[in-house]
Amino acid sequence: MTADDSGQPNRGKDGRTIFNVDRDKLLEFMKGMKEKGYDHLSLITGVDRKDFIEVVYHLHAVERNEYVVVKTTTNNGVVPSVTSLWSSAKWEEREQYDLMGIKFEGHENLKRIFLPESWVGHPLRKDYDLGNVQYINMDSDGEDYATFDEGDGW
């Protein structure tokens, strides 16, 4: 499955419109979608396809009650941020950075949102080693930290 940047939409299994957009044209395309009335960015997800990473945006036009899906791919894990269009993308992109390791270029505060900063790796990636268990504990200042020491955290 690769992205064809012809701009013509496909139909998903559930009948939902899917646009496959090239990464370089994503921001421009999204700006056009917002002008078409897709004022609500309901979800950003990431898919690890092993050779590349797919980033999926679910857009919603509230007045017309229409949903569309925009997909883009990246080989090096970098995609442009859409925080300039939808502010709700700030947390969504931080979540994708935290769990999938996707870097969003232009995000003002791209750091982990769920896991502590000292966590090693991004757990929803296919190459994440689940056997190497990490634990979380809280220091005296109330800050979380991750550790490989079973006796330290939970």
Binding site: F114, L130, V133, Q134, I136, M138, G153, W154
Partner: protein, 154 residues
């Protein structure tokens, strides 16, 4: 027996104390995931655990005797749960509600879930189920009452 004469009620101080203690277990609101819905059902009018003395769910650990851990304990939540448990006054009791709390449940191979809350705090009664029915939790509370009174659960 029905002689009509006034009798004397004889008991030991220990028995009176544990009887009072077992019939006034106030739980801490510790709903962490979907099991919390069943915990609310246990507390609501139809099953109503205040019949057994668990009057109201307290929001402060300082006023509660029992921690019903209802829902998946994540590694990030574990230090907070430990802190809340430490803030509860003695004597204090813990009920582990649901398989997630008992040993990890469906998340046993995940990266983020504590494999059993008994790694964090000592547990008195385990209530299995996914989620346990409100009746099961009521039975768990009654089992805890028997345990406090020093009776065997036969």
């Amino acid at each position: 027996m029905k002689s009509g004469e006034p009798g004397a009620l004889v008991t030991t101080l220990e028995k009176a104390l544990t009887w009072g203690r077992s019939n006034s277990i106030w739980p801490l609101t510790m709903g962490l995931a979907c099991c919390a819905i069943e915990m609310m059902g246990t507390q609501a009018s139809q099953l109503d655990i205040s019949r057994f003395g668990s009057e109201i769910f307290r929001n402060s650990p300082r006023q509660s005797d029992l921690m019903i851990v209802a829902g998946t304990v994540t590694k990030k939540m574990a230090p907070r749960l430990k802190r809340l448990y430490d803030e509860m006054p003695f004597p204090k009791y813990v009920i582990a509600m649901g398989v997630c709390v008992i040993q990890g449940g469906p998340y046993v191979h995940g990266y983020s879930v504590v494999l059993g809350v008994d790694r964090v705090v000592p547990v008195d009664v385990y209530v299995p189920g996914c989620p346990p029915t409100p009746e099961a939790l009521t039975y768990g509370i009654m089992t805890l009452q028997k345990k406090i009174r020093g009776e065997t659960d036969r």
